[in-house]
């Protein structure tokens, strides 16, 4: 049954960076994963054409984020600001990749962020981005780019929140779908020897729960790994989220499409879990 299911194959990782601290954490996680998978890493920073457009708009002014002073927006000012940001990011990218001896490539691109990420993601096996953007008031909300890639993306996606770190424990939300099995394999692949893979299974239906549990047990025996089950009911899922809310190191793996689950459950996870979240797309198991 599980013989032909393989973990995700990662040879090229793309990390899309902006100047936010979420993005910085994403870069660190991308470096770690590249190291683990022995993959190449490409970093991109995109000069947002929308921002440049703002400068041409009459009567627009900006308010200083820290000074609260209102000032003119100029095309030059925005360009210079983006150049400075791209310089910091480039330096940091090379510093981190050099430290770990990775093959890293960095590119500064210009245009519409969503479109460029979509294009660039075509050539990668895994996309890593910060969970939120630079907006000061959206520290814990999904950024617009994150929303877009969750919605539109076809590649496995790692979302990383600021000050959180990729590591252990590893949680896998399992839904008994083919993508769910790929998620399990991805979790197994990232597991340290002797550690437990924590598997979350819905037990709204007791019978189905037992059947799934049985399958996973035999899979674990076959793969010679330690597992721990965490049963939840849809209505009590919040309590589980509360438990792992404060974890700063670890990984939460979930299939992007979970059968029989409401979309709100995914959104809840994305909103309430601080740990890096690896979303396995349908395509990963094709």
């Amino acid at each position: 049954m599980t013989d032909d299911i393989q973990p995700i194959c990662v040879e090229r990782i793309l990390v899309s960076l902006d100047s936010s601290s979420h993005s910085f954490s994403a870069l660190k996680a991308a470096v770690e994963l590249a190291h683990h998978y022995n993959a190449s890493l490409k970093g991109v920073f995109i000069h947002d054409s929308k921002l440049l457009n703002l400068a041409n708009m009459p009567f627009l002014r900006e308010v200083g984020e820290y000074t609260a002073i209102t000032r003119e927006i100029s095309s030059d000012g925005i360009t210079r600001g983006m150049v400075v940001q791209s310089r910091w990011i480039t330096q940091t990218f090379h510093k981190l990749t050099n430290q770990t001896g990775l093959h890293g490539e960095f590119e500064i691109l210009h245009g519409n962020i969503d479109q460029i990420i979509d294009q660039e993601a075509e050539n990668c096996d895994l996309l890593v981005i910060g969970k939120s953007g630079t907006n000061p008031f959206r520290k814990r909300r999904l950024g617009s780019t994150a929303k877009m890639v969750i919605k539109e993306g076809k590649k496995p996606l790692l979302l990383v929140e600021e000050n959180n770190q990729l590591g252990h424990p590893i949680f896998v939300m399992f839904d008994n779908s083919p993508v769910g099995w790929v998620s399990l394999e991805a979790g197994r692949d990232l597991l340290n020897i002797g550690e437990n893979l924590n598997i979350l299974i819905n037990e709204d239906s007791a019978e189905e729960y037992r059947s799934v549990q049985k399958k996973i047990r035999s899979w674990a025996v076959e793969k010679q790994i330690n597992i721990a089950f965490q049963a939840y009911k849809t209505e009590s899922f919040d309590r589980f989220l509360d438990k792992i809310f404060d974890l700063k190191i670890g990984l939460f793996i979930m299939p992007r499409i979970i059968e029989d689950m409401k979309q709100s459950l995914i959104e809840k996870c994305l909103r309430r879990i601080s740990l890096p979240i690896l979303l396995i797309q349908q395509q990963a198991c094709d």
Binding site: S19, S21, S23, F24, S25, K50, L51, N53, L54, N56, M57, P58, F59, L60, R61, E62, V63, G64, E65, Y66, A68, T70, R71, I73, G77, I78, R80, G81, M82, V84, Q85, W88, I89, Q91, T92, K95, L96, G133, T134, N135, P136, F137, K139, R140, E162, N163, D246
Partner: protein, 807 residues
């Protein structure tokens, strides 16, 4: 020749009788001796060491190689065992004035213990603080504060966002701020789209944006206030947690050190620091950057942990010391003596803190004894001044030279001075002692005790026994083979030779030490069971051979007739003088031709060496004495009407000393009397105005120098040396010379007066004055007197002739 008084072989060397030593081998000697013949110096050191008044430090003076340092160190070490062990000293941070670290005195051993306790406390505090700050209670309370702050922010933001949405405006983050832009269902409008809008619409958008910007400004102005409030709340929470976490640990250590007030204060300060700045002491993210800006600006310089400022720097640790310390500082630089504050480089600048304070020799010796080499001390810049300053102020203040001279103005540390109480022994040669005494007025106040080492002592049975014990002690210390009694006897004889005296022994331990070690080497090479007479002799010979290159060259130059020295025949006004050369500790003699010329003149003896400024003052004095002798003996009633010149032939390096003055007089008398001098005889000795021959130095080397030339040319049995009689007691000649004298092939004539010498040199009697003041005919003195009278008459006649001619 035999008519003259000459020395017998037994008078040329004093033998040490091995059978009188009382042992067959040195391994029979059990008593050890470390100091020999230095009663005066020993008493001085003993006195200086025990007197407990300021300024009674000791200057141990004497030539190098006497073992002065070892002796004074032995005295100190013996005394130190009965002295109390001095305190430990530690430096701790002064949190109010970090540039002035506090010095704390603790009983011996407690310094390192306190250091260990503080290190443990730091570890435990870190664990306790981590536990407290990672506890659910703390995290919840902290989260509540942050959430409350975020909620307030979020609430306003949501309102703002809603207002923006209401007006179809998007809130956008720019690289340096936030702006609002009109949008529709497809997103933010482009500039062209906006321009296409009616003027009224644009005005409305503009107005709406203005309103939102004002709201945003108010929110942003409010944020820092809330942030501050949240931080204050967190700080209070941290204090509460920190106090709870470390309170028990602090009380425990305070209880342990409650008898030490300064320690208790230090611990209390640590507690205050941690409680006040608790969040700073949390390990946090371990210095990991959390943003791109931090990552870019982070450098890999030394990260000083904040906890490090609580550490203890033990600069004097007497934990393992029994009694008082005795320290010898071999490299007394200013920093090695007074201590220093080291620095570490951080981003191109030099930084320091109290942990970088390093002790100097004075710290280590405080409460005990410090031994320093005076020459090394004086040759190190500012060391002498630093030492005096510390002794005068009775405290050690660590201050860099740059600071002391105000050469640098960078911020550095000024550690609290430490009280000084120690005894110092400076070891140096006499010249340094007397120079310091003369030129440094503070010296005599700070070094009141003078321990002067003797260079030689009397060779009697008692000292001979002591010397044998000293030899045995060195043998034991160096773990060499035992010496048999003949070897020891040879060492004693060599000691007398080095003292240049048959009645004295040399006390320079270094010479003896070297000879013992080298004799042991030859003994091992020759596979002898014991070190024998031959091994010692081989060691002496090889020492000479190693240093002998120059002597050999000089002798070669004479033997090749480049340097003209005759050892046979007779010549008027020409004589072989003897000079001595000193190359470090190696001395050797060499014959030098001295010639004299006389003519009619005004009664002066010209010293050519002086005229060309190659003669030293003592040599010139000797020549002037000759003039006095001639006047006194021959020109009482006639004018001294000669002009004589004297020169050391082929001398290119200058001459000093008066040991050749008798020789010069012989040459002068030969010239005046026109009587030839035997070139087979060399002469040495100074002379006074009455013609008495006086003692000179280096008599052994001088005789050996002439003997070597004669021997290499072939001994003729009429060769020899005239020496002052007063020097007979200094003769410790080589065995080959003694053998030659014994065989009648070489002669050594001791003389008391030049009359004896001139007779030996010319074979003509000197002659004594009769009651009429006349000398017998055909005597040297008569010939001299006659010649001088003739010169006087000629001078008178010459004056008359000149007067008549001018008329």
């Amino acid at each position: 020749m035999t008519a003259f008084n000459e020395l017998k072989p037994s008078e040329l060397f004093r033998k040490c009788d091995p059978s009188q030593l009382g042992f067959a081998s040195t391994d029979e000697i059990k008593e050890t001796v470390s100091i020999f013949g230095q009663e005066r110096a020993s008493e001085a050191i003993e006195f200086g060491m025990n007197i407990a008044y300021p300024g009674y430090n000791i200057f141990v003076l004497g030539p190098t190689g006497m073992g002065k340092r070892e002796v004074v160190q032995n005295f100190f070490e013996e005394k130190a065992t009965t002295d109390p062990t001095p305190s430990d000293w530690i430096f701790v941070n002064d949190f109010a004035n970090p540039d002035k670290p506090d010095a704390i005195e603790l009983p011996p051993g407690l310094g390192s213990q306190y250091q260990q306790d503080i290190n443990n406390l730091i570890d435990e505090m870190q664990t306790a603080l981590s536990a407290a700050f990672e506890s659910e209670e703390y995290q919840n309370r902290r989260q509540t504060v942050f959430e409350s702050f975020k909620d307030k922010q979020s609430e306003l933001f949501t309102q703002l966002q809603e207002n923006a949405n209401k007006h179809d405006l998007a809130m956008i983050k720019t690289p340096s701020g936030i702006t609002f832009a009109p949008k529709d269902e497809e997103g933010v409008l482009t500039a062209d789209e906006v321009n296409e809008l009616s003027e009224d619409d644009r005005d409305e958008i503009k107005q709406n944006i203005g309103g939102l910007q004002e709201q945003l400004q108010k929110i942003l102005q409010q944020v820092p206030i809330w942030q501050r409030e949240a931080q204050d709340e967190i700080r209070e929470l941290n204090k509460e947690m920190a106090n709870f976490a470390i309170g028990g640990l602090i009380n425990e250590i305070i209880d342990k050190y409650k008898e030490h007030k300064e320690i208790v204060e230090h611990i209390e300060q640590i507690q205050d620091q941690i409680v006040e700045n608790a969040d700073a002491y949390l390990s946090g993210n371990g210095g990991e950057p959390s943003s791109f800006l931090e990552a870019v600006s982070q450098h890999s310089y030394r990260q000083t942990s904040l906890m490090d400022q609580f550490k203890v720097n033990v600069i004097v640790d007497n934990k393992d010391l029994q009694g008082a310390p005795v320290v010898f500082e071999n490299n007394p630089t200013y920093a090695n003596l007074i201590g220093r504050v080291e620095h570490y480089a951080q981003m191109g600048t030099l930084s320091t803190d109290f942990r970088m304070i390093k002790a100097g020799a004075m710290h280590k010796a405080n409460g005990g004894y410090l031994v320093l080499d005076a020459r090394k001390l004086l040759s190190q810049p500012y060391s002498w001044d630093g030492l005096k300053r510390a002794l005068q102020s009775k405290e050690i203040e660590i201050e860099s030279i740059g600071q002391a001279l105000s050469l640098i103005s960078t911020v550095s540390l000024r550690p609290e001075p430490i009280p000084l109480n120690l005894k110092i022994a400076l070891v140096g040669d006499r010249l340094l002692y007397y120079l310091l005494l003369q030129y440094d007025p503070e010296f005599s106040e700070l070094f009141k005790v003078e321990a002067d080492f003797e260079t030689e002592i009397e060779w009697d049975n008692h000292n001979q026994d002591l010397y044998a014990k000293l030899i045995a002690s060195i043998i034991e210390k160096e773990n060499t083979k035992p010496f048999n009694n003949t070897a020891v006897a040879r060492l004693i004889e060599q000691s007398a030779r080095l003292a240049n005296d048959t009645e004295r022994l040399n006390t320079k331990v270094q010479d003896l030490h070297e000879l013992i070690v080298e004799a042991d080497y030859w003994s091992k090479k020759n596979e002898h069971l014991h070190v024998t007479y031959d091994d010692v002799q081989k060691a002496i010979d090889s020492q000479i051979k190693r240093a002998d290159r120059l002597r050999e060259k000089m002798q070669e130059s004479i033997l090749r007739d480049i340097n003209l020295i005759s050892t046979e025949g007779e010549v008027t006004g020409q004589i072989n003088g003897l000079s001595v050369f000193s190359l470090g500790s190696f001395m050797f003699g060499k014959p030098t031709r001295i010639t004299s010329q006389v003519s009619l003149g005004k009664g002066q003896v010209i010293d050519i060496e002086r005229e060309v400024e190659m003669g030293g003052p003592i040599h010139s004095k000797g020549v002037l004495i000759l003039e006095g002798f001639l006047r006194g003996r021959y020109a009482q009633d006639i004018p001294l009407s000669l002009s004589a010149s004297l020169v050391f032939e082929q001398s290119y390096g200058g001459v000093d000393g008066d040991s050749a003055s008798s020789t010069e007089l012989y040459a002068l008398l030969s010239s005046i009397a026109d009587v030839p001098i035997k070139q087979s005889i060399a002469a040495t000795g100074s002379v006074n105005q009455f013609g008495q021959v006086q003692a000179i130095g280096g008599v052994n080397e001088k005789i050996e120098g002439f003997f070597d030339i004669c021997e290499k040319r072939g001994l003729t049995s009429d060769q020899g040396v005239i020496i002052p009689k007063a020097n007979v007691k200094h003769l410790m000649l080589r065995q080959d010379i003694i053998n030659a004298v014994d065989a009648g092939k070489f002669h050594i004539y001791p003389v008391e007066h030049v009359d004896e010498g001139i007779e030996i040199l010319t074979g003509i009697p000197a002659g004594s004055k009769d009651e009429n003041g006349n000398y017998p005919e055909r005597t040297i003195n008569a010939l001299v007197k006659d010649r001088l009278e003739e010169l006087a008459n000629r001078l008178t006649q010459f004056g008359k002739d000149k007067g008549e001619n001018s008329d």
